[in-house]
């Protein structure tokens, strides 16, 4: 069995406490509650039944009602005083509390009052029970998306319906797609709709701030076996794309930290090179325009040329506002 003894011990102790508070629980309920299989529950109950104080005579042992057991129901008749729940460790408490705090603060306002209240009461109870002060860990979630879009997505998820969305991708191309929503992920960086895209015939991650409109359709969302497992799915490599190599100043480190890079090579002078594999040229162009200040070089040359041509077109669009090229515009703007 792959499970560690320590994890199993915690569950065994937790089960005594739970069964002491809940008289007569079916094996299936216990399994669901503790997130294990029914056969594991039976193994755990058998272990508890043989455990107790030294001597291990019948009156020393944890005991269950045998008739109920035969019916598949677990009824604790002797706990040997082991019913007190375990205190949380510092790290256990701090990490759970930090998550709850972020959920209350950032997700709460977007939820039904009833759901928000559940988050608040959970946070209050756990804070009281652990005595951990706020402070060590501080997470903010980036809740983006237009409220009406978020509301439609949430309704589709709650009712299991298909969605039609209008989406603008990172290359600024807008399209309408029918999707079967899997989940809405809110991270510290941004919010995503994870969905099965019928057009792509594959799972896709849509940035909520790029979903321009969303409409719940009458059709039910279909199951897509295997989809949605990648709960943490982030930006994926586009294996079809070409590799471009960017030579960046140290201040451009964010590029390596925000886009899918295949390799990062630190150079002695503090600058570094990254290999980026991008399917859509427009995305790379946009990235390089954003990172222009930090770019020392780009390979292959046609990528650099493409970016430079775009930049010159943009400067031309400003007309006289762009000013003379060799005299930077007034570097001391009014205080913001």
């Amino acid at each position: 069995m792959a499970e560690r003894a320590s994890e199993r011990l915690l569950r065994l102790l937790g089960m005594i406490g739970y069964l002491d508070r809940n008289d007569g629980v079916s094996v299936e309920q216990l399994a669901e509650h503790f997130g294990v299989t029914p056969s594991q529950v039976m193994a755990d109950v058998d272990t508890l039944w043989m455990s107790g104080t030294p001597g291990y005579y019948p009156h020393d042992l944890i005991d269950f009602d045998a008739d109920s057991y035969d019916r598949g129901e677990i009824r604790l008749t002797e706990s040997r005083g082991m019913t007190r729940p375990l205190r949380l460790g510092t790290r256990e408490a701090v990490t759970l509390l930090a998550a709850l705090r972020a959920m209350v603060a950032d997700l709460g306002p977007t939820l039904d009052p009833e759901q928000a209240e559940v988050l608040r009461s959970t946070l209050a109870k756990l804070t009281a029970a652990t005595g951990e002060a706020a402070g060590a860990v501080d997470v903010r979630l980036a809740v983006d998306g237009r409220p009406e879009v978020v509301a439609q997505i949430r309704r589709a998820l709650a009712t299991g319906r298909r969605l039609r969305i209008r989406y603008v991708n990172a290359s600024d191309v807008t399209s309408d797609r029918d999707v079967d929503p899997l989940r809405m992920t809110t991270s510290d960086e941004r919010s995503y709709l994870q969905a099965w895209c019928l057009r792509a015939g594959d799972e896709r991650l849509f940035r909520l701030d790029r979903v321009l409109a969303a409409e719940v359709l009458d059709a039910p969302a279909e199951p897509h076996p295997g989809a949605g497992r990648g709960a943490t799915a982030e930006f994926r490599f586009d294996l079809e794309g070409d590799v471009a190599t960017l030579h960046l100043r140290s201040t451009g480190r964010w590029v390596a930290e925000t886009v899918p890079v295949e390799d990062v090579r630190n150079l002695p002078d503090g600058s570094f090179e990254v290999d980026v594999r991008v399917g859509q040229r427009a995305f790379l162009r946009s990235l390089l325009l954003q990172a222009a200040d930090d770019v020392l070089g780009v390979r292959p040359p046609e990528v650099a040329r493409d970016v430079a041509v775009r930049a010159r077109a943009a400067l031309a669009a400003y007309g006289p506002l762009a000013g003379p090229a060799d005299a930077p515009a007034d570097p001391t703007p009014a205080a913001g």
């Binding site: 501080d138 979630l141 991270s187």
Partner: protein
């Protein structure tokens, strides 16, 4: 009794025995009477088994106390005090347990997930029914993984213990040792940061966890510095938490930059717009968007090329123009080069003009 006892069963029997012992149990008594320890084939293997079990229990939050008794000479006994490990009274509804499941899945680091799933097992003992999936329906709040540096830094923050680590500063590219009094771990758009007091530099600094190289080592004793005051922490976090304080007017080409359009609302040119500005944005849609930091919006706008122009404020426009001028030289051509690029296309360091950083933006969210 089966011949081979599962280690979890041995641990359970040890806990029950040490909770129930009237005073204490010696090692000898444990070995002789507690189910599972009789399996030990030798003194050494019993010792190892018992020490390991004590460590395991301590990690789980069940401290095994050592009791020496004058009446029994020098020998050592053990007991477990339930008050030392018990959670204060707590009852959780099934919906609250569901919220806790979401909170446990919030974390992506394997080691933190081990902590939160332990906590969840403990809390399930006091929860009613299986966790409700109502709140969880399709919701997945997440924070990115903090990496290897996260657990030791969290422990050091809690213990108020100094840490030493090797850090690659993005601003200079310099790699050097830092000695830091860690105050708080902060996740904001873009990453995990340690906020603390840099001892050598004698000032508050923030460190991006992904730029810490190698191991984080604790230095010296716990409680080595005072916890930061709320004012200190607030000041250190100010730059991250300023948001949506300013607005800009952008001029969008028709049917382009839909993401910016969706975020903003229709706008007009500012009063007193110059004829040059009016000419540049003619035939474009004007949209007002709010923003936090000039550099942040400037980069986003520059990314759109000629599809988006800045009408207002001038500081933002200057920042965008600065980026565009640099980008225009990427192929070796100048900002005004009209024809095919001249010169080598690859490395352009020599022709890159210095960055024009907008002044007066001292409270901006740092890139980190």
């Amino acid at each position: 009794m089966p011949e081979q006892i599962h280690p979890a069963e041995r641990l359970l029997n040890l806990v029950i025995a040490l909770v129930h012992t009237p005073g204490r149990m010696t090692k000898e008594q444990i070995r002789r009477t507690v189910a599972g320890y009789g399996d030990a084939p030798s003194d050494e293997s019993f010792e190892r088994m018992f020490e390991r079990d004590k460590d395991t229990l301590r990690d789980l939050g069940i401290p095994v106390a050592t009791v020496t008794s004058a009446g029994h000479g020098d020998d050592i006994g053990y007991r477990i005090d339930q008050d030392a490990y018990a959670l204060p009274p707590l009852e959780l509804t099934s919906a609250e347990l569901g919220a806790l499941s979401l909170a446990a899945e919030f974390w992506q680091d394997r080691s933190v997930r081990a902590d939160t799933s332990r906590a969840l097992t403990k809390l399930r003992a006091v929860g009613a029914g299986a966790g409700s999936s109502d709140l969880a329906a399709g919701l997945a709040p997440r924070v990115r993984a903090g990496g290897d540096a996260f657990p030791p830094l969290l422990d050091a923050v809690q213990a108020r213990q100094r840490v030493r680590f090797t850090y690659r500063a993005a601003s200079t590219g310099e790699v050097r040792e830092r000695l830091v009094e860690p105050w708080r771990l902060v996740a904001r758009r873009g990453g995990w940061f340690l906020v603390g007091f840099d001892v050598d530099r004698d000032g508050t600094r923030s460190f991006r966890l992904s730029r810490i190289e190698g191991r984080v080592r604790v230095v010296g004793a716990a409680g080595a510095f005072d916890a930061p005051t709320p004012e200190q922490t607030e000041a250190a976090l100010l730059s991250w938490d300023v948001r949506d304080e300013r607005t800009a007017v952008l001029a969008l080409r028709a049917e382009r930059a839909e993401a910016l359009r969706a975020r903003g609302e229709p706008a007009d040119l500012p009063d007193g717009a110059s004829p040059a500005l009016r000419a540049a944005v003619a035939d474009r849609d004007l949209v007002r968007v709010s923003y936090r930091a000039t550099w942040e919006l400037a980069e986003e706008v520059a990314g759109y090329g000629d599809a988006v122009l800045v009408a207002d404020p001038p500081a933002l426009r200057d920042a965008v123009l600065g980026l565009l001028r640099v980008a225009a030289t990427l192929d070796g051509g100048g900002p005004d080069a009209g024809g095919p690029p001249a010169g080598p296309a690859a490395e352009t360091a020599d022709t890159t003009p210095a960055r024009t950083t907008p002044a007066g933006d001292t409270q901006e969210a740092p890139r980190g």
